[in-house]
């Protein structure tokens, strides 16, 4: 029985099937918001309101020819999309939607799981770099190098800003942090600075404008994914979508007081809050122009990191004050 339950959990909810449908829904939402902000229609024809467009893209990619370059490291090249998708799907398990019991720590909700989640979210960057490296195409290698360079920029502000509400809530467990802010919702306000820093840092992690230097073109997705095609590219794109869901879920849990209310209401809150964060990300994407790689790093270290430290300071002072 427990085995069946685990299997269902992995495959259906909150596992692969749920993530597949929800992440493609989030991609649809992002594309639609971006398009409407640019006075365009966005996906419209596939399914009602174009909802099935991301799924159609995925299916189309599956049917395309899969080319592996001769000089590429075959095993790594083939394994990386699956590994990347597995990593982000595992990260999704840790989001406290309603599969947890506050009193009893379980495999999906335990003390320190915020750190595990952040760690699992930085692994896709490494996966992308390895994908670029194993392609042995110099363009991909340059793209991969850029991906890592950006990692040095945004990772520290992201960590600092996400950990501040955890410090205020006095816990390293996502479910408890969410519960703390549900009890005292006013304490969300001091963390707003960290929220905005985290939104910008997540935008950089997901490689969207203004930080889309590693694959700067819309005509040819170059950079890390230059050599990928067919099924592998489909899996990589799905990995990016799931990463979007997980990052926005993380931000919603930590900054927007999680998803209280049991099964149905909690799930609804999950949808609403993650879509709100995704809307902010789409807004950022539509309003800015691409910035250069050196500017990303200087911006991250001169603006984002000090703001995150400031947020940390505010939280520590507040904590002392509240005691």
């Amino acid at each position: 029985m427990a085995a069946l339950r685990t299997l269902l959990s992995i495959l259906v909810y909150p596992g692969i099937l749920f993530l597949f449908f929800y992440s493609t829904f989030c991609e649809w939402f992002d594309r639609k918001a971006y398009a409407r902000l640019q006075n365009r229609m966005g996906p419209t024809h596939t399914g009602r309101f174009g909802l099935l467009q991301p799924i159609a893209d995925f299916v189309k990619l599956l049917s395309k020819e899969d080319v592996v370059p001769d000089a590429a490291d075959r095993q790594m090249f083939n394994a990386l999309p699956v590994v990347g998708l597995a990593i982000v799907s595992t990260a999704a398990l840790l989001l406290p939607v309603w599969n947890f019991d506050l009193a009893v720590p379980s495999l999906t909700s335990f003390s320190g799981d915020i750190i595990v989640l952040l760690y699992l979210l930085s692994l896709p960057t490494l996966v992308m770099f390895l994908a670029a490296w194993s392609s042995t195409n110099l363009f991909s290698t340059v793209g991969g190098a850029r991906v890592l360079t950006m990692l040095f920029g945004y990772e520290v502000p992201l960590f600092l800003s996400v950990l501040s509400p955890a410090i205020l809530a006095n816990s390293w467990r996502l479910a408890e942090i969410a519960a703390f802010y549900q009890r005292r919702p006013l304490l969300i306000l001091p963390n707003l600075l960290g929220f905005f820093v985290a939104v910008v840092a997540v935008q950089a992690k997901l490689e969207r404008t203004p930080f889309d230097i590693p694959h700067a073109e819309t005509e040819i997705v170059g950079g890390t994914f230059t050599e990928y095609s067919g099924k592998k590219l489909a899996l990589f794109r799905l990995m990016l979508d799931v990463e979007l869901v997980v990052s926005s879920g993380l931000l919603a849990t930590v900054f927007l007081a999680g998803f209280p209310g049991g099964a149905l209401l909690g799930f609804l809150q999950f949808v609403v809050k993650t879509l709100f964060v995704i809307f902010l990300l789409a807004l950022l994407r539509a309003l800015t122009s691409r910035i250069r790689i050196d500017q990303v790093v200087t911006f991250a270290w001169r603006v984002l990191a000090p703001l995150a430290v400031l947020q940390l300071l505010v939280v520590i002072l507040l904590k002392g004050f509240l005691k």
Binding site: N39, N137, F139, I213, G222, S289, R290, R292
Partner: protein, 400 residues
């Protein structure tokens, strides 16, 4: 630092023609060479075998975006050869379409500049506005490009009151939006930082290399064929020539937006002052022997046609010089001592007419002599990677 990019597995060398060949040292371009001819269709030879009327359709197809410029430049010249004086109303309509084409072309270019700099929202907005112009042109001529409104002796279609009202309405909307883009260009820091200081061409260089159009006007040279060699209706219109002094891509954006605003003025004057009368006068089949030089200000610069006739119904010689060709030596100069990362932006800034196709660029390392071919799209990707000159561009002032 040695600079080498290997030929990729997709072998871009076999798919795309080589058009720029640059000698590089590290990230800096030491010399550039233009290789042309992959789009050469032998139109000058073909024009000698077609009659004057058929040649209008031939010249119109020299380009898609500035189709009307070539057709009008040709027709102007032929009308001089045949000693025809087209009626006023026909001339007004012809040059109304010219100005609408200029608006369309500049909006297109603004979008392309935004896209090259990574500012996709700007690209989408300007192209949305371009739809208004294209709808107006479709209303006047029946086509969105290749308007085919010229004939020897006048134009082929007339305007009525309803169409005039729509044109004025469309122009008013576009003017409000273009002023908004002027404002965005001035105040969007990432966009300005990206294009300021790129592609420098001093005034002396522009003069000696015979640059034309907005490329020259952005270096402070106030030359516009409409003002200095006024043809047809332009001596009756009140407008100014837009210039800028910054000699870089930012100046070219400023010049084109200023030209947009001036074009709206001209369009409104043409529509308001449109005289009554016929739109065409009958043209003979044969032209008297003679020669004529016809100049026209296309959106990209000065367009010149030299037509020689020998008394028959076919031209003896038609020589066309499109404005982009005149800007190529200036482009070479702009690329020298620039950065590889800036190549796509500099090339787009002269508004190349035969563009949109992918082009490969060959980079020759000056020390090792090794060559490598790289695609323009990859160059655009690298264009996001800036060297130490980023500071220079960030602090460049807006040349208003």
């Amino acid at each position: 630092m040695k600079f080498q990019i290997p030929i990729g597995p997709q072998h871009p060398a076999l798919k795309e023609p080589i058009s720029l060949r640059m000698t590089v040292e590290g990230e800096v371009i030491r010399d550039a060479d233009i290789r042309l001819g992959y789009n050469h269709r032998g139109l000058e030879k073909l024009a000698e075998e077609k009659s004057f009327l058929q040649d209008i359709y031939l010249t119109e197809r020299i380009c898609g975006i500035c189709s009307h410029s070539h057709a009008t430049c040709f027709v102007q010249g032929v009308e001089k050869l045949m000693e025809l004086a087209p009626p006023k109303r026909g001339m007004y309509i012809r040059y109304l379409v010219s100005e609408l084409e200029r608006v369309h072309s500049h909006l297109l270019w603004l979008g392309v500049a935004g896209h090259e700099a990574g500012f996709d929202s700007f690209f989408m907005y300007t192209w949305r506005d371009r739809e208004i112009v294209m709808d107006l042109l479709e209303m006047i001529s029946g086509n969105r490009v290749h308007y085919a409104i010229n004939t020897i002796g006048g134009v082929r279609r007339d305007l009525d009151e309803g169409q005039k009202a729509k044109i004025l309405e469309g122009t008013a909307t576009l003017r409000a939006r273009s002023e908004y883009y002027f404002h965005i260009g001035a105040s969007e820091p990432s966009f300005v930082a990206r294009i300021a200081g790129v592609g420098r061409l001093t005034k002396e260089q522009a003069e000696t290399l015979c640059a034309v159009g907005p490329t020259a006007r952005a270096s402070g040279i106030t030359r516009d064929v409409r003002k200095e060699d006024p043809y047809a209706v332009y001596d009756e219109m009140d407008f100014e020539v837009g210039t800028a002094d910054s000699c870089d891509v930012l100046g070219r954006v400023v010049v084109r937006v200023k030209e947009l605003l001036e074009s709206y003025k001209i369009i409104e004057q043409i529509v308001r002052k449109l005289p009554e009368g016929p739109i065409v006068v009958k043209a003979p089949r044969k032209a008297k022997p003679g020669e004529v030089v016809s100049r026209y200000e296309a959106p990209r610069g000065e367009n010149i046609h030299y037509i020689k006739s020998n008394g028959s119904e076919k031209p003896e010689r038609l020589k066309v010089r499109a404005p982009t060709l005149a800007n190529y030596p200036a482009t070479v100069e702009m690329l020298r001592n620039g950065f590889i990362a800036d190549i796509p932006l500099i090339f787009a800034a002269i508004d190349p007419c035969i563009c949109c196709a992918e082009r490969a660029v060959t980079l020759v390392d000056v020390r090792s002599g090794e060559e490598a071919i790289v695609r323009l799209s990859d160059l655009r990707r690298r264009a996001a990677e800036r060297g130490p000159n980023a500071v220079l561009k960030r602090n460049a002032p807006w040349p208003l």
